[in-house]
Symmetry: C2
Subunit: 218 residues, 2 copies
DNA sequence: GATTGTCAAATTGTATCCAATCAGTATTTG
DNA sequence: CAAATACTGATTGGATACAATTTGACAATC
């Protein structure tokens, strides 16, 4: 199945192809939380043996996408309200701190790119998938000016792991759509000012404004 | 080799035993940065096949302990000054934020335990290994009152990955030894006050006071 | 009727075998 | 003699085979 993609990616290891495939399935929500992740069928579907699938599953487990239960099938990780709060606070702490660097390092070109990404984000409000993608691009545009590779990687990891829940939130209450452009605009102002404290504070507040309870019916 | 430990851990999977073994070797510094991590000899040494070793290596790679080079032997990750700064800033951001929760949640019993851990830390100043262990315990005593499991886990991960470099620093300049008790004491005061802002600020400053340049000769 | 025991299907965990890849060295060739 | 090339040893990457474990169903028992 999907021979062309397989051929195109032939140079990369089977494991990383499998990992990328599963990551996309989970991020997109096609494999929802709780879905069993069984090695054998996936291996057959992608035309590889179980071994690289196992390793891919473990890799995803380390990123938090799946949960491995010893001697039982792994499952797509299901996050509860507490877990989401946890992840969002982590991201607030890290991405807030990252903005200190960004505010001090960003140049005219960076500002321009962020403004462009912001416009695209505004245009993307009609479609959930489009919006999520544009939202990623906007945040990444800012993080490009944070010279801390591991920090940025961790921030992205968290964003990706929580992506299905952002999608749910966008589809459920439209509030997220409405607020978000103004917030992102204020955020950009703060970064433009070059004041680390202000940039950090703005990013923190922006991320923590995400209301988990919209998704999880009490 | 080491039959008793093997028997004791028989209930757990070979993979996790191997992972734990390697993690300890690396954290302790017995396997220094740059050391090749070859599957076959380790497998033989521990009396298992190469497969669980492979998976253990990959698990460690996801935590940052080793670096996998495609089709070449993996190596123990070697961090440069920039990487260490990166990791310490991440920890500052996260553990600082965690202290907001701790300051608000800690009770009399928690304070007491932290004070005890602080005394033990002070006693441990003569020996590097002892000190590192006591330092871990002190920080964990505080983090026990942060109700954000994933955040705490990530903080610990960073602390463990940087452990060999802390050891180097302790052995090299003794400054870290000297400053640290006072700092930790001030930190505990801030937590005791219950003020989130103050607790966060104190923890951040404490962590960022770590001077990387002591290790890396310019 | 509830509980326990046993068996079978599904799935993971581990071992072993073979192919692919890379680093370094020897060797050829201009 | 220098540069390109071909070989060799070491090591990983992947596939297949098999053992161990768990789950659930169904039957036996109290």
């Amino acid at each position: 199945m999907n021979k062309y993609a397989a051929v195109q990616d032939q140079h990369r290891s089977a494991q990383s192809r499998v990992a990328e495939y599963l990551r996309q399935e989970i991020r997109s929500g096609r494999m929802a939380g709780g879905t069993p992740v069984v090695a054998a069928p996936i291996a057959e579907h992608l035309g590889v043996s179980r071994m690289p699938v196992r390793e891919a599953i473990q890799q995803l487990a380390n990123d938090g996408f799946v949960t491995i239960r010893s001697n039982r099938s792994a499952v797509v990780t299901e996050f509860g309200p507490g877990d989401i709060a946890d992840l969002y606070e982590m991201r607030a702490a890290l991405e807030g701190y990252a903005m200190r660097h960004v505010a001090q390092n960003i140049d005219a070109r960076g500002i321009q790119e962020a403004e462009l990404a912001l416009m695209r984000l505004d245009q993307a409000r009609e479609d959930v998938n489009w919006f999520v993608s544009a939202h990623d691009i906007y945040h990444d545009a800012l993080l490009a000016y944070c010279p801390r590779a591991q920090m940025v990687e961790e921030i992205r990891r968290i964003r990706h792991v929580t992506e299905p829940y952002l999608r749910l939130n966008l589809r459920a209450g439209l509030t997220a759509f409405a607020n978000t452009t103004d917030e992102h605009s204020e955020l950009l102002d703060a970064v433009r000012s070059g004041e680390p404290d202000r940039a950090e504070d703005e990013m923190r507040r922006h991320i923590l404004r995400f209301d988990v309870r919209e998704i999880f019916p009490a």
